[in-house]
């Protein structure tokens, strides 16, 4: 955005997979910047391409199955064509990721302590003693009570919330400058979700890192991001500073996502607003707007011609012929 030298910059970034029914376009021509110290939310339904986008940006997708195009520039280094060996240099210290399900992301047969200090010893070549001290400090930092005991435990002995904290500690071990959080709270209880989001926000400020939070729930990222990008069918359909997005959303899809969130302030016993229909088939790109088949305001023009990404105000862009704020 305004920052002249973004930490991560994706230009015309696309990812497709080969399937039996032809190429599947998971991410299509996405331009996104993440500024130094910024927190960006990427919001969309399952199948919108949000997870593929974040993994693709980090270079975590299998090279053989996934075809990437466009450029990925991290901190002035062009990683678009970088071989895995070079990418590995950036993983951990530059970019790190936490996942939705901390149970499967952690090795079930190894103690928390050894999984936590592994990265430190390999990447930062710390001695066993130093790595342990740093590990304890990290567990302390993610607000885990009694870190000494937790170091000696196995993943299954911890609750979901504690496991996610451990995952965060592992991701932070090498002090990354950019943290990707892929659905970090989806598998957790509401009360624990709130704790984990709070923790992520605090850590971001303490450590001065940038963060990308990938989620299907606009409500989760509302209070914890500077900007939000809404993805639909592989495209960014609206991107804006968080407060502006909530105050002045333009794209009907964003509005529909927003309305579908169950809220405490709607009276009970009412029908909830839904987005009817389903995501379009990603192997058959539409000619018009990808949201046309589900949009309540659809016109013939929407079906015939895909809307371009237009900017309404600095940093606020959307794809729609008939935006909500505009004249309809």
């Amino acid at each position: 955005m305004s920052d002249p030298q973004p930490m991560l910059s994706l230009r015309d970034f696309s990812v497709s997979f080969d399937t039996a029914r032809g190429p599947l376009y998971a991410v299509r021509n996405v331009d996104i910047d993440v500024a130094d110290g910024e927190s960006l939310g990427i919001v969309g339904e399952s199948g919108s391409g949000k997870t593929v986008l974040s993994r693709g940006a980090m270079g975590l997708l299998p090279k053989r199955a996934a075809h990437r195009s466009g450029t990925v520039i991290y901190d002035d280094h062009d990683l678009s064509e970088a071989p895995r060996k070079e990418l590995r240099e950036y993983w951990g210290t530059g970019m790190a990721m936490i996942f939705q399900d901390p149970m499967t992301a952690l090795n079930p047969v190894r103690k928390i302590g050894s999984q936590l200090t592994e990265g430190l010893r390999i990447r930062l070549q710390m001695s066993k003693h130093d790595a342990k001290a740093r590990g304890l400090e990290l567990l302390h930092r993610v607000r885990i009570p009694d870190p000494d005991a937790v170091m000696e435990k196995y993943p299954f002995q911890l609750s979901g919330g504690m496991r996610q904290r451990v995952m965060i500690a592992i991701a932070l071990a090498c002090k990354p400058r950019l943290l990707f959080a892929d659905e970090p709270t989806t598998a957790l209880d509401v009360t624990v979700q709130a704790q984990v989001m709070q923790l992520l926000s605090e850590l971001r400020h303490e450590m001065g890192m940038s963060m990308v939070i990938v989620t299907h729930d606009l409500g989760v990222v509302a209070g914890h991001t500077d900007r939000i990008a809404v993805m639909y069918a592989g495209e960014v359909v609206e991107i804006a500073p968080t407060k502006r997005l909530f105050a002045n959303m333009q794209m009907p899809y964003t509005e529909a996502l927003m309305k579908s969130i169950p809220r405490l302030d709607t009276p009970s016993g009412q029908r909830l607003p839904v987005i009817s229909g389903r995501l379009p088939d990603p192997t058959q790109p539409e000619t018009g707007c990808s949201f046309a088949s589900r949009c309540p305001y659809v016109t013939d023009k929407c079906r015939a011609e895909a809307p371009p990404l237009v900017e309404v105000s600095p940093g606020h862009s959307y794809r729609c012929w008939f935006p909500i704020g505009g004249s309809r």
Partner: protein, 329 residues
């Protein structure tokens, strides 16, 4: 909190299910027990939707399954339509089963991957030998239509070809096949995208009206149950905290735990979200629950009394019951 008591039980002909002092303990090792559910009592009137809300590990899923005697509870009584289920033998219990059905959280795990959708929905009909082949096939189509699936398109496909939301629709169709009176929904939407949650919640509402169901809706998310429930029971560590009608509960939570749950619901507004209070820490182990009120270790209003004496459920306003020594104003 986390108290016992039966002040909230009603005594009228509309009560379809009455659970009293239900306790469920699982042995761990040789001497210790997990106290999953500890002396819970509640009742449901015909046509009600009772939401059971609490964090994972509070025993809400165990409670749901214990009502169905899967497995039988350690002690306590489950009275369904005047029939005591805990003392029924295997065959008598089997005869009651069609009237009580259940929907599970994980849509993928609750459907057999080897069976076609038609076979899955047909399964309960076949178990009970309802009608002939033709009648069952029509019934399956009718059920699939009812849950918003196109029978011709889905009948012969397998569950893994469907999204989570669609799997949940198939589950619902199957659970309705035997025309149950009571449907227990165990976290039916927590594995789904927000945008799909609303579809399933609406569908459950529709099915409730169409088939005259009574629902028990188990969830960890107060916001989700808000729209569907007529009564909410908040659970913590195997005990009841608070029971009330939803609007009253949300606007004026009297139990400290309910208040914490209400305030941890994410609000989709960047200006509000920043000043939320969250609950600190994690629930204690159900193997060794705290004395007195089980919530006292995390409660902002706890006193010595809370450690010594277990609070009993008492009425604080019409139809609103709280188990707390020091309820919030």
């Amino acid at each position: 909190m986390a108290g016992s008591g039966k002040a909230h039980l009603r005594n009228n002909d509309n009560v379809i299910l009455r659970v009293e002092d239900l306790t469920m303990e699982f042995p761990v090792g040789r001497k210790s027990f997990v106290h999953a559910v500890s002396g819970i009592s509640f009742d449901i009137e015909r046509g009600e939707t009772l939401a059971i809300v609490g964090e994972s590990g509070c025993g809400k899923s165990t409670l749901g399954k214990a009502i169905l005697q899967l497995p039988k509870p350690t002690s306590g009584s489950v009275n369904f339509q005047g029939q005591e289920l805990t003392t029924l033998d295997k065959d008598a219990l089997r005869d009651v089963r069609p009237a009580m059905q259940m929907i599970f959280q994980d849509p993928a795990s609750s459907l057999d991957p080897r069976l076609s959708v038609a076979k899955i929905v047909d399964e309960p009909l076949k178990i009970w030998d309802r009608g002939d082949e033709m009648w069952r096939s029509n019934k399956v189509d009718e059920l699939l239509n009812a849950v918003g699936l196109e029978p011709a398109l889905v009948r012969d496909r397998r569950s893994y070809e469907f999204s989570g939301g669609q799997c949940q629709r198939i589950s619902i169709a199957r659970s309705l096949a035997l025309e149950p009176l009571l449907l227990i929904c165990d976290e039916p939407v927590s594995a789904l995208d927000v945008s799909v949650q609303a579809q399933i919640l609406n569908l459950l509402q529709d099915m409730k009206e169409r088939y005259g169901l009574t629902l028990i809706f188990i969830s960890h998310d107060l916001a989700v149950v808000k729209a569907v429930s007529t009564r909410i029971m908040v659970m913590y560590l195997g005990k009841v905290c608070e029971i009330s009608a939803p609007d009253e509960l949300y606007s004026r939570p009297r139990h400290h735990y309910t208040h914490a749950l209400v305030s941890s619901v994410p609000i989709p507004d960047p200006n509000v979200a920043a000043r939320r209070t969250t609950l600190e820490g994690e629930p204690p182990s159900p193997m060794d629950p705290p004395s007195g009120c089980r919530f006292r270790t995390r409660c902002p209003g706890a006193t010595d009394l809370c450690a010594q004496e277990e609070p009993q459920l008492h009425e604080v306003s019409a139809g609103h019951y709280v188990a707390c020594h020091w309820p919030r104003p």
